[in-house]
Symmetry: C2
Subunit: 134 residues, 2 copies
């Protein structure tokens, strides 16, 4: 079911500082910041040869990463996202296996414009896990 | 400097349970467990199309992931590892930029038999970051 690692998301308190670290200290190719108001984050993409890192900073009053940063004020690893071929088939398989899909159980359109869902981290050994339809 | 994402390491309290989740629930290709006594972990590789996930369980009395699991008893995202072409050149660049290399500052032979070093997470916005020479 899991095809490839789509991205690793890192929550950071200061996106410009983190962007500078990845560009200057780590020598990576880093995008300009992009505000995703409907997702409550501003994102910078760190482009690697095989996948990407997404640096996320909270945007607005109800950001989905605000609670994480309150617990981890320096930032940290927030979630992993994997590509799947058919997200509804994946969802049905996961629910049948006893995993909990966050929200109402229906895939939503994610930050890349494709259907996504999130699995409860308690069902994936502590790692918040996103699936995205390719 | 960063070439590709070599792996994402996830610490788990029960490697066989985590391995079963990735194989059966998430439908991934999962290796047999491998005990790495000198690194204080037993590892299972989750093979994706573009990179791999390493599931780590503590091994022995002085496992480097024991403190993490004490804080995160269900498990969680432990570190990211990136490939670099020349680890000593990378180290010199990082130190000049003010980043702290863990240990004595010299690369060590890592779990894949190649030179590695770890950067202090406080210098990488809360993410423990490993570099491995390809």
């Amino acid at each position: 079911m899991l095809l490839r690692l789509n991205h690793v998301a890192l929550a950071v308190p200061d996106l410009m500082a983190a962007s500078a670290t990845y560009r200057a200290t780590l020598g990576a190719t880093v995008s300009e910041p992009r505000a995703l108001g409907e997702h409550g984050v501003t994102v910078v993409f760190v482009e690697l040869n095989n996948t990407k890192i997404e640096l996320l900073e909270p945007l607005g009053d109800a950001s989905p990463i605000a609670a994480f940063l309150a617990k981890n004020p320096k930032g940290g690893m927030h979630h992993l996202c994997y590509d799947v071929a058919d997200i509804r088939a994946a969802r049905d398989h996961l629910v049948a296996a006893g995993a909990r899909v966050l929200g109402n159980g229906e895939p939503k359109i994610g930050a890349h414009g494709k259907p996504v869902l999130f699995l409860h981290p308690g069902d994936v050994h502590g790692t918040l896990t996103e699936l995205e339809e390719v």
